[in-house]
Symmetry: D2
Subunit: 354 residues, 4 copies
């Protein structure tokens, strides 16, 4: 039932704010009453997303401290909408004045201007990934709720950066395991290679893309509403709403298109008297409804559009120009997107539990 | 704004019906008044989807003749909801009684039963791809409208069947070009290999998956509503609603995750004084909004779950059993899904034009 | 979450059809699985709404037999959308050709033409109350569900016809009590006066309006979602969707605007240890949420717009003309609207219980 | 498409905040880009709503200065969601501690507790009319837009306070005419009587209800989406969302239920070659669609529930108690509700123009 800047049907997140405006915010509506607010967990997820957290990310410094000023009374949620607000402290709008009149390649400058006839050029304005801080705040509360009330956990991690791939089978990793390396790949050796690849791209004023894998454990069988509110479609919608995402696949995904039914069908067996599948090429969803196995999906991020390398482009006066972007940006946004993927997944799953 | 069995926000398709019920239907709401109904085009798209159309598809025979009995007056739409109905003539529910008590691997039997506590086992019931006939009927009307009123065209074709791939760049192909081969791949040689692969799988009572690529031409720049009603997310949602779909990617997609910004950024140039991109790795969408280039996406279908090869599974009495599916089914559904992909894409794009 | 031709958020009714088209229909989505279909009850409600049922209604004869052909398997609902269809057997479109070019006063002819640029003039087309037969079918199923599963009952009856008023306090009357008189007022004497008033209006080729009161018993405290999905607002929305309705009030309603707080506040007392209110001027809803008392509301219907008395009007060629409507119509629609009010109320209340 | 705390389909207002929390806020989504923000007009409407504005209202003092910190760039809207925030400066939560354990008659205390299992008792929390300040902020922007871009004007005024009625025909009055008297009735003599009635009720620690009439001029024919998104139903939904509202009627309303068709049908005539109606008992809406005449509706407010007179009630420990409310409240909220009615009407009408 996603519409404009609201995601979700019964649990609904409404997002507002711009990269270099005063604030980023979100209103979470439909959240159950009586849940004890754990602001620390929300702040942790925001810190995993925030800029300047490691040598791999943009030098923009933001505390990203969240203010929660409605929907909570005496430390517990009341059932009223919950408002999250994050200040933009380190906004430097002037850094972006050189972009006022130019369309950055593979950025949203041109399409926003075509859509709205105007554009807030300061750091991408509304099209910036900075607005996802509000999503992470709201989603983190839902993650916490689903963990404590439903024993559902969200574990996202880096599967691929550039051409460096984590080849092991999908598996739930704890936050500690994922965050052991700044690149958020739960394999020390692969992680080192990924870090090196990002640093090299950065040194060359270039950028890299990557893939995040997410494993959700504890979702019981029977979640999802076919035919147009399938759990898979809702997850896909949420992930394709994240900045720089260009692909989404579930379980065996694209690779499964090259296989035969007999190779990839998930045969059932009884485990402790309950039907389970021997393999999980379905990614935990069959016919749009969860089947009780881990939910497994991958999200493809393109390389950061903003690069220092000179590029051809066009300006608003209709002239062809060269652009060498300055301003602050990430050589690879994917490690910072791990908590975003978790938050969005939690919002989607949570919608079926309120 | 998709909800339960309704897709879309301003142009809304509500779907009903089951595989072996009496009818399949759909109500299309929000369609503009005064448009002359071209029932032939709708029937053509239904015929491209219908079973029994070639040696590659299930032997189930259905005319799939559409009845349109509301929302049209004196040959033109009135602005009232349009009701499409297709009879299930060749339903043979008894063919399926052997499946009443067993969960077919990688099918929706188990998850539906977990969700609803009951299940219409006749040919998959509501989870069957047969229900997409209603989607195709409604979507085809929208396709026709967008072509005649907005010069927007939808061209889907087979990109991959099993491991046989069409390697050429994405491009709009006419229906004639696509349908020249029964497998709907617009390259005679590749098509022959695909057909051979399907026939071999069929001979071995097995099934194959594949990938459909869709190119939409004529969408002007400026279509899409960030942040949660992005054109890309809406397309992804619609495609992930289609039966057997396990992945969706836009433009450069997953492959782009392995690249650098300098390799895949779409530089702008002026063509006839208008900004265009030299490459189209963005797939025509930037920041969730169309940029005026062709919209390009791919949809990954897993192999048909129903196969004749013996498989392990579990029955409703909690026993492990062997299953060799009989009943009628397609060794590869992907060629028949071409008009479904077009219809769903038309419903999504049309939503922004009513 | 009502949109276009769909009412409801989680339990959603999508309506289609025109007065003199082939069919009227509705799709009910979100209805729980496993409920045994009682087609007789649905048919009863349809018969209470159908034309030609008594001397007070239009002579148009319709059986209004409902076909239910999806969402039900082996006599029980499956959780899939349920499709209701009613044939228009006695459509006489030719009766209406004299209205093709003229705007009937206080009818929807002119506004529909302004909205859609076209109009199905046959008996009002989409704007006819005939389309409510689909609403009654869907709503009746929900009524039956709420009675059997939640002990919630809907009792609507005539409160006023023209200037004849039933002055007793709101109270739940059984269907038998309400239907004892053809005018559906549960007081024999007042009913006779109402019937006489309608017959006199009919004799004078004129029409009468009236008021329906509805009492819902058994709704527990705590139903409703402030601030924009209040139970009261949802009921108002549904009632104001019914043809010819011009007003809605809850509990003490408009009269309460002339009173003081000390006169109309509903004081609490304990009854069997549970808080109840001594009076029920709130109509069972406080702050948009039910308080456990009977829900009481009234719906104001204007007199039937179509009358035989000569009226001034304008035609589509921009000429002023005289109109003396022929065709079949009710001198007073209100008695037939009783099951419509119940159906709509059931759809609204049911939305909070699925 | 109203859902939970969001009103509207294409133009959507999401509300948050509580009476004695830190802030009240709203996010307005879907508002067109490029509109110059007139903060003064918004502030004017907020001042018309704010407490302490005259001797008739609660002594609570709030500046109600609005902060707008997203969706606006260089003084103009950008198409991004617009965030409005109003601080609660004069919150005195302690004033309300005596209400913590008691259910105020005809207030939302008991029903909120039944709904959420908890309750923010400080001044009504989320159920307080204070949250409408966010609605007025968002609605005022839409009012300004509709005036400047579509020449549509909203004129609400007091029709009745207690038993004192303004008996003249509905008519558009300017804000100056309405605000000439603090009670907002555009008739000096009637206004004096109304003021006297309120002051008398206040002196007796009691409260009064009233009726607001609203006239919308300039809405062209053809606005509204039957059958479930009728302009009339959308207006009714919005008005019944306002605190203390117990009734809504359009044009001739309830009174028309006592009339004959020949008395109240709106005959068409040609005025400057365009069809108009001679009377306007339809209130500008026929079949749910505007007909180009003034839109006229009335909203019934019950008397303020909070009164100083002693009342019987029940506390949360299940004891019957006496309550004499202290704390700050209005003897009659209706004059302050004038800008709320205008704002809500603007949000509804605006939804059809974006």
């Amino acid at each position: 039932m996603n519409a404009l800047n609201t995601l979700g049907k019964n649990l609904r997140l409404t997002s507002y704010g711009e990269s270099h405006g005063e604030v980023i915010g979100a209103v979470l509506d439909g959240f159950p009453a009586g849940f004890e607010l754990d602001k620390d967990f929300i702040q942790t997820q925001l810190s995993r997303r925030k800029p300047g957290q490691s040598s791999l990310s943009t030098p923009r410094k933001e505390d990203d401290e969240v203010i929660i000023n409605s929907g909570v009374f005496e430390g517990k949620t009341t059932g009223a909408p919950i408002h999250f607000q994050i200040k933009n402290n380190n906004a430097k709008p002037k850094d972006y004045s050189h972009l006022k009149d130019v369309y950055r390649p593979s950025h949203a400058d041109y399409s926003y201007e075509a859509r709205y006839g105007t554009r807030d050029y300061r750091g991408g304005g509304r099209s910036s990934a900075r607005v996802t801080s509000g999503w992470v705040a709201g989603g983190a509360l839902v993650q916490d709720y689903l963990l404590k009330k439903k024993a559902i956990q969200f574990g996202a991690y880096i599967k691929q950066i550039g051409l460096i791939k984590l080849k092991s089978e999908p598996k739930f990793y704890s936050q500690g395991e994922v965050d052991a390396e700044i690149v958020r790949c739960p394999n020390k050796e692969i992680a080192s290679q990924m870090i090196a690849a990002i640093e090299q791209a950065k040194a060359e004023k270039d950028s890299l893309g990557g893939i995040i894998e997410c494993v959700i454990t504890g979702v019981p069988a029977g979640i999802g509403n076919p035919v147009f509110d399938k759990l898979s479609a809702a997850l896909g919608h949420a992930m394709l709403s994240v900045n720089a995402v260009k692909g989404f696949e579930l379980g065996g995904g694209f690779e499964m298109s090259g296989k035969r039914g007999s190779e990839v069908n998930d045969e059932f067996e009884l485990v402790d008297g309950k039907p389970q599948t021997k393999s999980n090429n379905s990614g935990g969803i069959q016919g749009g409804i969860s089947n009780g196995m881990d939910i497994v999906f991958r999200v493809a991020f393109k390389p950061t559009a903003t690069i220092g390398v000179a590029q051809d482009t066009v300006n608003t006066s209709g002239k062809e120009v060269k652009l060498e972007a300055t301003g602050r940006h990430d050589p690879c946004v994917v490690p910072r997107a791990v908590p975003i993927v978790e938050a969005m997944a939690a919002l989607v799953v949570g919608d079926f539990f309120v």
